[in-house]
């Protein structure tokens, strides 16, 4: 038995030396992915800024990527993204926060055990389905109240995006609130507070960084959301402030341009990368901010 042992020893020790390096190599794939994203975006974005000046791009209110007199100003897309994000958060923040409060402070265990999975299902529905829902149901529904609403508009996808983000805000906020120690609630209740007062004046302030982190992640998600807007917000590139109008977001622009399969090497092709770079930077900043905030709150107690 021990003789056999010796024969395998060599192989075993080679494996032993090799495995950590091999696994490290695998682990670096994720870093390579990030590097790949940054390098890809950066290279072509630099090409883009050879054709279009940086200033014109970020201050331009006209986006007309096709034709002989193409103009590349990204502001219409930024405005579209801003609108859809703001609308989404107007829906997601209050509803998500209230749901979180209900689940964390008001609901009995039994109720929570029924309602939480439902929110999780909502979070698991593919965004394309929400896109279909926005385009074929929510928009026609809204148009019966707001006749001025265009068949494709920023309002309806914004709202649906908000609904999609509710579970995320709710579950992250609930986590933050649940981690507030019970002794604090008891302290407040013992002073004669109602549950609402405990929630509003003690629990939410104590959990505020976790809650804000959930909002920021929600914003990041809204900025990056693609299919809902690609289907339901149309491709109007006008710099308009009217939310009944079609507006294009950065993500929808990327889908439109790649869907039209712009030939490699053209300015419009490069513009894809410049927009994607902008999108990437925005969401990255949001994610880092959320991580920073939530790390800070984890240290609190």
């Amino acid at each position: 038995m021990i003789e056999k042992k010796r024969s395998t020893t060599n192989l075993t020790s080679v494996t032993e030396k090799f495995m950590p390096k091999f696994l490290l190599a695998i682990a670096t794939i994720s870093i390579l992915t990030t590097i790949g994203i940054v390098v890809t975006l950066l290279t072509e974005t630099i090409n883009f800024f050879r054709d279009v000046s940086f200033l014109d791009f970020y201050t331009g209110t006209i986006l007309k990527p096709l034709g002989d007199d193409a103009v590349f100003g990204v502001l219409p897309l930024l405005l579209g993204t801003l609108y859809s994000t703001v609308i989404a958060m107007i829906v997601a923040i209050p509803v998500g926060l209230m749901a979180a409060v209900f689940l964390s402070e008001y609901a009995s265990d039994k109720v929570r055990r029924v309602l939480k999975p439902i929110l999780e299902i909502l979070a698991g529905i593919p965004t394309i389905v929400y896109g279909f829902f926005a385009y074929t149901f929510v928009t026609p529904l809204l148009r019966s109240f707001i006749p001025a609403l265009e068949p494709t508009n920023i309002l309806s996808p914004g709202i649906v995006m908000g609904i999609m983000i509710i579970p995320m805000v709710a579950s992250l906020s609930e986590d933050a609130m649940s981690s507030v120690p019970n002794t604090m609630r008891e302290g407040a209740l013992a002073l004669g507070s109602t549950k609402l007062e405990v929630t509003w004046k003690v629990v939410i302030p104590a959990a505020i960084s976790g809650i804000i982190a959930s909002f920021v992640l929600g914003i990041s998600r809204a900025i990056g959301e693609t299919m809902i807007v690609a289907i339901a917000s149309g491709s109007n590139k006008d710099f308009t402030f009217d939310l009944t109008q079609s507006m294009q977001t950065m993500t929808a622009y990327i889908v439109e341009v790649t869907g039209g399969e712009a030939p490699a090497g053209s300015t419009i092709y490069y513009s894809l990368y410049a927009v994607a770079m902008t999108l990437f930077v925005f969401t990255l900043i949001m994610n880092l901010v959320a991580q920073y905030i939530s790390r800070k709150y984890r240290e609190e107690y």
Binding site: G67, P151, T152, N236, G259, G260, E261, A262, P263
Partner: protein
């Protein structure tokens, strides 16, 4: 979905026994891009073809005529066919020569540029050629319906059409508008489906595109009957095909597919598909909202293709 009985009908009207035997050995892919106008025609054609040639994959996209040419005229991995709703331009021909690509034009059907309006629009159903064009011109001076006819509503017109990727846009701009600028408010879209949707939902919208998209959406859209000087003409398969004064003439146009001849020589399935397309062009055209070609045009194309074998 219920299985259509149409399958058998289509099988009977395609090819002869000999052709089928030959095709049975074919495999590989055929890649087609280009005109969105021609897309329904080509998609149906491809579908029929694949029904008989299981091993061949025909892929049809619809980036638009101009966008399609950009993918057709490349050094490597170009498309095999480019559908077009306009003639190839000089600079595109030049590029093909530069790249050493032999390009052959095949006319596949006739189309009529159709102006569509909302079903609720009961005033603008008839316009003169000048009036309808004026709506789209920057210098046309028309922003409201009442600018055309004081009896019409004083509401903003919403003109729209396909964007610059599309041959239809260029046909409109170059041939119909005589290269005068589009009005600023024009809403140019990539997808024809978007245009159909927008017009079907907006009382003040007016859009232009190929007859086929009107034909398959007659339940949602109305077409403008255009008066070319001899009384209003309704666009229809008949009037598009007519070459006389009762026809839809100035707004009609031939639609094409451009073949990369080198590919046809290299890949038997491409050549086979080209022949199949010409052989069945008339039937498929009629099914998909185009006026069929004359027999002699078809014969000429087929004999050219047979020559490549």
């Amino acid at each position: 979905a219920a299985c259509g009985g149409g399958e058998t009908a289509e099988e009977t009207n395609t090819g002869n026994g000999e052709a089928t035997e030959e095709e049975a050995t074919l495999e590989g892919s055929v890649v087609i891009d280009g005109s969105g106008t021609v897309y329904p025609f080509m998609a149906r054609m491809a579908e029929n073809y694949m029904g008989e040639n299981e091993e061949v994959s025909v892929e049809v996209s619809r980036a638009g005529t101009s966008a399609g040419f950009e993918k057709f005229l490349v050094a490597e991995n170009g498309t095999d066919f480019n559908d077009a709703s306009r003639h190839i331009k000089d600079e595109e021909t030049a590029k093909a020569e530069e790249l050493g690509i032999e390009v052959k034009e095949f006319q596949v059907a006739l189309d009529g540029l159709t102006f569509v309006i909302n079903k609720e629009n009961d005033w603008a159903t008839e316009m003169t050629q000048e009036e309808v064009v004026k709506i789209f011109l920057a210098e046309g001076g028309v922003t409201k319906w009442s600018d055309i006819n004081p009896e019409w509503p004083a509401e903003e017109i919403k003109p729209m059409g396909p964007n610059e990727n599309h041959g239809t846009n260029e046909f409109m701009f170059e041939t119909i508008m005589e290269e005068k600028d589009f009005v600023d408010s024009v809403n140019l879209q990539q997808e024809y489906s978007t245009l159909v949707d927008l017009v079907s939902k907006d009382k003040n919208a007016i859009a232009f595109f190929g007859y086929g998209y009107y034909d398959s959406n007659k339940d949602k859209l109305s077409a403008v009957n255009v008066d070319f000087g001899n009384g209003p003409v309704a666009p229809s398969l008949d009037t598009i095909g007519l070459d006389d004064e009762a026809g839809y003439k100035p707004f009609t146009r031939p639609v094409f597919t451009y073949l990369n001849v080198d590919m046809a020589k290299e890949k038997p399935q491409v050549l086979d598909y080209a022949i199949y397309t010409m052989e069945n062009a008339q039937d498929v055209a009629a099914e998909t909202g185009f006026a069929p070609l004359k027999d002699e045009v078809i014969q000429e194309s087929i004999s050219f293709l047979e020559g490549l074998k």
